[in-house]
């Protein structure tokens, strides 16, 4: 164990230089770990909004439902969706099944008509599992949204909740009476008068401008859906088992197509790819900075110890052992740098989170969010391992240079 001891003493010999090198490693750890925590917050937020925005963990739909122009019509629907939902509710892994009917048409205030995308939901089950009440709370802050409430459980009530942008374009507010027009499954034109009971802010402008929500009973009357449902949103008891349950439930329902939420949440996937690209590039740059800074330090250290290396080689140290000595120095720099970086990250993370910083609304979304950098042990481990590998790599060249020294020249070195 003489090499680790020597390596440690050598690092302590040049305390200021070692401290500066450690600061580079700490800064690298800090930046990457905080960025990882920020990414985790973003991904968590996006996945929550996708799942609780209506997708559930799994979506059961008719095969080919996502293809062609008929995605929003009942021509491609689960013929007896309610029976299928009842069957799935008996599955021990399933917490709840939320049937949905999707339709489209025109919404008219009399003076003006606007095209909409409609979703019909169960007014009792939906608030228990989805974030519809949050969207309603946000929508209540929009012009005309005061007094917003959720849909009544009464099947005879004809009510609608409008996206804030859709309400604005029609000049509608809570209490307004509008007419929903759409086609039935048979292709006949149909209309239903509805009362606006709330506005919703779904977080994405495109959705707010087009989307409305009604009860399944209202949609049933409008499009003559019967027991057909466009999709079933399945909420699992153990969300972490989504991938496994996907395969199992697909096997149980071969006549349907079962999709996990992450395949359907295209915004989530796009943001994830974008973040991976941005932070991947940033990580690469940081690793390069650490690599060059530490390689420079270790190389300087080698140049100052040429005679010492000559003596060690004269005493019988093999060239490979000199490489190992430098590797130990890199290993200690990486280890201590990561430990200090971890401590600094935890302190800074706690400080930043305590400040309750409001982040601006991301592109395409309608409201900001509070910064909450997550603690992600896996990210910290990956950063530490990455930095450790970088340090070992940076110690390689100085080590090889030391190993290639000619002993007689090294002994003469001044």
């Amino acid at each position: 164990m003489i090499l680790p001891r020597l390596a440690l003493r050598n690092l302590l010999r040049q305390r200021r230089r070692t401290a500066l090198t450690l600061m580079v490693v700490v800064a690298g750890f800090l930046a990457l770990a905080l960025a990882g925590g920020f990414m985790a917050q973003t991904f968590q937020g996006l996945s929550d909004s996708a799942i609780r925005g209506g997708l559930g963990h799994l979506q059961v739909m008719p095969p080919g439902a996502l293809e062609g122009d008929e995605a929003q019509s009942l021509e491609k629907a689960l013929p007896d969706g309610e029976a299928l939902a009842a069957r799935l509710r008996r599955d021990p892994a399933v917490a709840e099944v939320l049937p949905r009917t999707q339709f489209m048409g025109l919404l008219s205030s009399g003076a003006k008509s606007v095209a909409f995308l409609g979703t019909a939901v169960d007014p009792v089950l939906e608030p228990k599992h989805m974030a519809c009440l949050d969207a309603l709370k946000n929508g209540a802050k929009a012009p005309g949204g005061a007094g917003s409430r959720w849909l009544s459980a009464d099947p005879s009530a004809r009510e609608v909740i409008l996206g804030a942008g859709l309400a604005r374009s029609l000049g509608a507010s809570v209490g307004s009476l509008l007419t929903l027009m759409s086609t039935t499954r048979d292709g006949a034109l149909n209309a239903v008068d509805v009362e606006v009971v709330g506005l919703q802010d779904l977080g994405l402008r495109e959705l707010n401008d087009r989307l409305l929500t009604v009860s399944l009973a209202t949609a049933g009357q409008l499009v003559d859906a019967g027991s057909a449902r466009s999709r079933l949103s399945v909420v699992l008891k153990r969300p972490q088992d989504t991938a496994a349950e996907l395969a199992r439930i697909q096997a149980l329902l071969p006549e349907t197509s079962v999709k996990p939420w992450f395949e359907l949440a295209s915004f989530y996937r796009q943001v994830k790819l974008l973040y991976y690209a941005i932070f991947g590039f940033m990580g690469l740059v940081l690793f390069l900075v650490v690599l060059l800074a530490t390689a420079n330090t270790l190389l300087m250290s080698v140049m100052e110890r040429v005679r010492e290396f000559g003596v060690l080689r004269a005493m019988g140290l093999q060239p490979g052992q000199l490489v190992a000595l430098l590797q130990w120095e890199g290993a200690f720099l990486g280890l201590f740098g990561s430990l200090l970086g971890l401590a600094a990250t935890l302190v800074l993370r706690a400080g930043l989170n305590a400040l309750h910083i409001q982040m601006p609304a991301p592109p395409g979304t309608s409201h900001g969010y509070e910064l909450d950098i997550h603690f992600v042990p896996m990210v910290y481990a990956i950063v530490a391992l990455g930095l450790q590998a970088t340090l070992q790599l940076s110690a390689l060249f100085p080590g090889l240079k030391a190993a290639r020294l000619r002993i007689v020249e090294a002994l003469r070195h001044v």
Binding site: M1, I2, R307, V311, A314, M315, G316, L317, P319
Partner: protein, 224 residues
């Protein structure tokens, strides 16, 4: 014990040809031999060839009858580790290690267990009069004490041959003489062979064998 057979190692120094040329000599076992001569006479070059730190252009180095100068790098490393000890003019102790750790270093490299290495290093340091300086770093020792620690480091692994390059050159007369007395005593006591490169008369006066060099050639051999 140590034999040079027609050894030649030439190099350029300041535009002139220097080194050693056709040197043959034998250093008997257990003696204190000195390579004497002025600067540039080839003393250090011969010492480096004997220590397997360099390789001859021609000729051979034999240690205990075995030709060793043409061994592979790994074999020469191993031979240095197990059978050779070095004492340098500038002491060359590892500055970040204590005197005790410096002496334990070659033992550790040999794979000697910690307790055994410590026992042998303490004994070697005691023998050179540094029993009360075990935990001092080189920077906390005088020049004479550092050279004594270097001798202890060279002797602790019980080498066949100790090579010393101008060991008294960095010491004043008051320290150089006693240091050579110590080396002479150790040579006699341990049966180890010492080959010292020096032009110091105090060193030559304590030698059993003196090989005088000039311009890279052996010009005289004395048995004292």
């Amino acid at each position: 014990m140590l034999q040079f057979r027609n050894l030649t190692r030439a190099y350029e120094l300041g535009g002139e040809r220097a080194g050693v040329f056709g040197v043959s000599l034998t250093v008997p076992k257990g003696c204190l031999a000195v390579l004497a001569g002025p600067s540039g006479s080839g003393k250090t070059t011969l010492l480096q060839l004997a220590g397997l730190l360099d390789q001859p252009d021609e000729g051979a180095v034999l240690l205990n009858g075995q030709e060793v100068s043409s061994l592979s790098e790994r074999e020469r490393c191993d031979l240095r580790l197990r059978h050779l000890g070095f004492v340098f003019q500038a002491f060359n102790l590892v500055p970040v290690l204590s005197a005790l750790e410096n002496v334990m270093l070659p033992l550790h490299l040999q794979g000697v267990a910690e307790a055994e290495a410590r026992r042998r290093a303490e004994r070697a340091l005691d023998r050179v009069g540094l029993a009360d300086r075990l935990h001092h770093r080189p920077g906390q020792l005088s020049g004479g004490q550092q050279q004594r620690a270097a001798i202890a480091r060279a002797l602790a692994p019980d080498p066949l041959l100790v090579l010393a390059d101008e060991p008294t050159a960095s010491l004043d007369h008051a320290h150089g003489g006693p240091l050579m007395d110590l080396m002479a005593e150790l040579a006699a006591e341990r049966g180890a062979t010492f080959l010292v490169a020096s032009h110091d008369p105090a060193v030559i006066a304590r030698a059993n064998h003196v090989f005088r060099l000039a311009d890279g050639k052996l010009i005289e051999e004395e048995h004292l």
